[in-house]
Amino acid sequence: MNPAVVFQARGLTKVYHMGEVEVHALCGIDLDLYQGEFVVLLGPSGSGKSTLLNILGGLDTPTGGRVMYGERELTRYDDAELTAYRREHVGFVFQFYNLIPSLTARENVALVTDIARNPMSADEALRLVDLGERLNHFPAQLSGGEQQRVAIARAVAKRPAVLLCDEPTGALDVATGIKVLEVIERVNREIGTTTIIITHNVVIAGMADRVIHLSNGLIQSEERNASRVAPARLSW
């Protein structure tokens, strides 16, 4: 039997109005994402992958089509419901970490655990990303890789149903990038969080259960890896 469907998207379209020009970011996407799945979204700039991720994460709303999150229709949520949805169910990791500079590593994580319903402790989340040591350092005192691991700890500490990563290694060197991917992989494996990574980097596709190629706002192809490659064995 298939694992439970977490997201079900049907006929998803998104049109941006840039002045007098209409940009069709998504042109009718149908997609199911399953519980515990590790998905990599690949595609060139402007293919619509970030738009898709933003809609799934409740940061944006589609122009047409609908998204079901479990039994509920995400696309009908109003702003307050979307805020609550992000607060309870979604973990985000961004290319530029987006840590709060005035809070230490532990406090950045605590920021989320303070408002989530069933979080792990901040220390536990930081141990999960191998950052048990530099808990009381401010972002400005951490390296890029360390900052990104804090961001991951912050994203997973609430035990989200889904972890959405937008170019998580984009700003990092190879060795640090791999370390970060290991952490994401471990969270997916150990906590069973549905994980979606969008990237330009084709190499990362090797560690996914499923790889989805986007182009011009449409799903071009989909493939399932027979086995997931450990991040340590990736290189680019």
Partner: protein, 788 residues
């Protein structure tokens, strides 16, 4: 337009809210400066013009009585160019249909019509016809108060004789620009009037035919006023001269001078504050703008723009904002000066107001504002212009934070992450935070100055009329009278209590220091007039020695126990010594006091009195009492305490309201300018952080708390500082307004503090709401895509 200039206008458009907020602060600075200077210049110019056109005298003296023949000798004093001898007397006026006692001054004018000095400025009707004993010209203010027009009639008791008079004209005089009943504090045009009558007729009425009791002189340019006064005093010694004085001691002139001094001080104090705040704001905003434009500056420099060009570019941006403020400030300052002008015309009876706005004032205001703006900006711009292009093109290093001091003190676990963010953010930019706090504090302080006048004058009245002068009616006799008058007064209808006094004009001297005033002899154990010590407790009059107003003791450099020379200015003009027995607290005027018996002994005269204080019961008897007082020929002046208080409320409220309103508007602008700019800068600096929080699931309310909580906290810190600043500003005002006419105590009522706090909080809340609206439009996605 060059591309760089186009960038300037676009940048300005992007920061229009902040530009307007700063421009408004500059506007306030320029407006206050222009307002105070313009009204001051206008009043000065008007007074000078009026004085010269109407030949306002240079030296004044009153005396008992001298024969007209003395005039020759006065004219012969070197330096004297014109002399007018005249008769002047106090009168009781009876206005039909107006029950309360009205007193006034009647001044003789030449029958021939040519007035050598203090020429009347006729406002309506005509000049008196020669030798007519039933014609008077009345002061315009008095006529307006009673609705008199030429042809109307009134009665006056002159020298004990009741005379029916016809008003033939209304006029103004340079001598009575500020018209006050002797001993009065505020003009009361209904109960005190100045009238002019032909010299011959008035002379007859006062038994002064061929004699005079008042002289006004004009001096040659460069003549020594001091020498003339000296000679005049010696000449008039045997005619009961009361001591000559120059313009600076002439009552109306003196009041105007004091008012001008106050305006002058305000014109120095307030613009400096406003321009200081504006310079700080410009510095903060431009520092931020330049910070955001590091990369653009680098690119401009990479393309070959020089440091000077880049610096000039940003300076131009600042100057546009400054010039906007200056233009608005000049316009609103001129408008406010006009408004003030109309208020002043109520107090000061000028025939016209020559509105003066000197070009040098405009250029001073412009240069000062540009200077303040440029100074505030130069540092920020220089720092940006000095960056190497390669360096500037790199993103600015990440913000460094550290734990705030409350956390280091161990309060950490009590603070939520949001509160920690607020504290650490304040701590990271202590200078900027301090500027915000100072700005808000100044706004708070300025609001208080608006209310201070009301508080302090209210307090002075409380002390004067609630604790010290508690009589209902005070009256003065035409000349010292026997003690028996007391019983006559007590028998009048409605009189509950009578206390008597004697007033003796004197010159008090200590070495080279001297002051002309009156010693008042007061009944021991008096309840209607009491002397108060520094703690405002009533004091007992000692059986000998003289008591001085504390300020008078200071002026004369004497302390209790010291000796003082007393030259009596009436009768045989004896010169005696007196011991200073103590000092008393008084805010209005300065005076000397003795126990009545002691004063009579000091004068070596029997029991005589020159005035009385009455406590009366309300009701029907009051009208009969007024009637009876009007018919008593020896009663020269009557003042009603209740009326004095009402006068204050009526005449002062209007002008105080204006000050309060202007001060409030300006402080709101400062508070708004400071808080709004801080909020906008914080928003630009932290939009990325706040958007990240929104993505993490924080609500709009929660991120608003983080951003606005900081401003809230700074406002809360600023408030006590602001109340202190307000006290300091009020102290500066009060301290600069100490003179023998009045001393202003530093009194601030709780209401004033509460009002200032309310105004500042309201301004902060409004700026918070404006910024909050922008928070709702945060671009959650875009902000995550870019590195700052």
């Amino acid at each position: 337009m060059r591309a760089l200039d186009r960038k300037l206008w676009r940048d300005l458009w992007l920061m229009k809210g902040q530009a307007v907020a700063i421009g408004l602060v500059i506007l306030c600075g320029v407006a206050t400066y222009i307002m105070f200077i313009a009204i001051l210049d206008s009043l000065r110019a008007t007074r000078a013009d009026y004085y010269s056109h109407n030949r306002f005298a240079d030296v004044f003296v009153s005396l008992k009585r001298a024969p007209e023949g003395l005039r020759r000798q006065i004219e012969a004093i070197p330096g004297v160019t014109r002399v007018e001898t005249r008769v002047v007397a106090g009168v009781n006026i009876d206005v039909e249909g107006f029950a309360e006692p009205v007193t006034g001054l009647i001044v003789a004018v030449p029958d021939e019509g040519y007035q050598p000095l203090n020429t009347l400025y006729m406002r309506s009707g005509r000049y008196v016809e020669p030798y007519r004993a039933d014609e008077v010209i009345v002061s315009e203010a008095f006529a307006e108060a009673h609705g008199f027009t030429p042809g109307d009639r009134l009665a006056a008791v002159i020298n004990g004789r009741r005379q029916s008079l016809t008003i033939v004209g209304t006029a103004l005089s340079p001598e009575y620009i500020h018209q006050l009943r002797p001993g009065g504090i505020f003009p009361d045009y209904k109960r005190y009037g100045v009238m002019w009558m032909g010299r011959k007729a008035l002379g007859n009425a006062l038994d002064m035919d061929g004699a005079f009791n008042d002289i006004v002189l004009e001096l040659a340019v460069g003549a020594s006023e001091h020498d003339v006064i000296d000679r005049l005093d010696r000449l008039l010694d045997r005619y009961g001269g009361l001591g000559a004085y120059g313009r600076e001691d002439q009552r109306s002139h003196r009041f105007l001078d004091e008012e001008f001094g106050q305006l002058d001080m305000m014109s120095k104090m307030f613009p400096v504050i406003f321009l200081g705040v504006a310079a700080f704001l410009l510095n903060v905003v431009i520092t931020r703008l330049v910070g955001l434009q590091r990369e653009q500056i680098a690119i401009m420099k990479a393309f070959g723009y020089g440091n000077a060009t880049v610096t000039w570019h940003y300076l131009k941006l600042v100057l546009v904002v400054v010039l906007f403020g200056v233009a608005g400030g000049i316009a609103s300052g001129a408008w406010l000066a006009h408004l003030m002008g109309t208020i002043y015309m109520e107090f000061f009876r000028f025939p016209y107001l020559t509105f003066t706005l000197n070009a040098h004032v405009l250029s001073e205001a412009t240069l000062a504002s540009m200077g303040a703006g440029a100074l505030g900006t130069l540092l920020a711009v220089r720092r940006a212009a000095a960056l190497k292009p390669a360096e500037a093109m790199q993103p600015a290093p990440p913000a460094r934070y550290r734990e705030s001091w409350p956390e280091r003190l161990g309060l950490r676990r009590w603070l939520s992450p949001s509160n920690r963010m607020i504290l650490r953010h304040i701590g990271r930019r202590p200078f900027k935070s301090a500027v915000t706090v100072c700005g808000i504090a100044v706004a708070c302080g300025i609001t208080m100055t608006g209310h201070f006048q009301k508080d302090t004058v209210g307090y002075m009245l409380d002390v004067q009329y609630g604790m010290s002068q508690r009589e209902d009616i005070s009256l003065v006799f035409t000349e010292p009278t026997s003690y028996r008058a007391r019983y006559e007064l007590a028998a009048l209808p409605g009189v509950r209590r009578v206390e008597v006094q004697r007033s003796v004009p004197v010159e008090l001297r200590n070495g080279h220091l001297s002051y002309r005033t009156a010693i008042r002899g007061m009944q021991p154990g008096g309840d209607l007039q009491r002397l108060l010590d520094a703690e405002l407790r009533p004091i007992e009059l000692p059986s000998s020695g003289v008591i001085l107003t504390d300020y008078l003791a200071e002026m004369l450099g004497v302390r209790p126990g010291d000796r003082l020379t007393v030259e009596v200015l009436e009768g045989g003009r004896p010169v005696r010594e007196a011991i200073v027995a103590g000092v008393v607290k008084e805010y209005l005027g300065v005076s000397a006091y003795m126990e009545l018996g002691a004063l009579n002994r000091f004068m070596r005269e029997g029991p005589a009195i020159s005035g009385a204080w009455l406590a009366v019961s309300d009701g029907d008897e009051l009208a009969r009492l007024y009637r009876a007082l009007k018919d008593m020929p020896r009663v020269a002046g009557v003042a009603l305490r209740r009326q004095e208080i009402r006068n204050f409320n009526k005449t002062m409220n209007e002008s105080l309201l204006f000050y309060t309103f202007v001060a409030m508007i300006f402080s709101v602008i400062i508070a708004f300018g400071v808080v709004y700019n801080s909020a906008r800068i914080a928003l630009t600096e932290r939009s990325r952080e706040l958007a990240s929080l929104r993505v993490l699931g924080f609500t709009r309310g929660e991120i608003s708390y983080i951003l606005l909580g900081e401003l809230g906290l700074l406002t809360v810190i600023a408030l006590p500082l602001g109340l202190y600043t307000g006290r300091l500003l009020c102290w500066m005002i009060a301290h600069n307004l100490q003179n023998d006419l009045y001393r202003i105590p530093l009194i601030l009522q709780p209401n004033t503090y509460a009002f200032a706090v309310t105004v500042v909080i309201a301004a902060a809340v409004v700026s918070g709401l404006v910024v909050r609206r922008r928070l709702d439009q945060l671009d959650l996605i875009g902000v995550l895509k870019t590195k700052e």
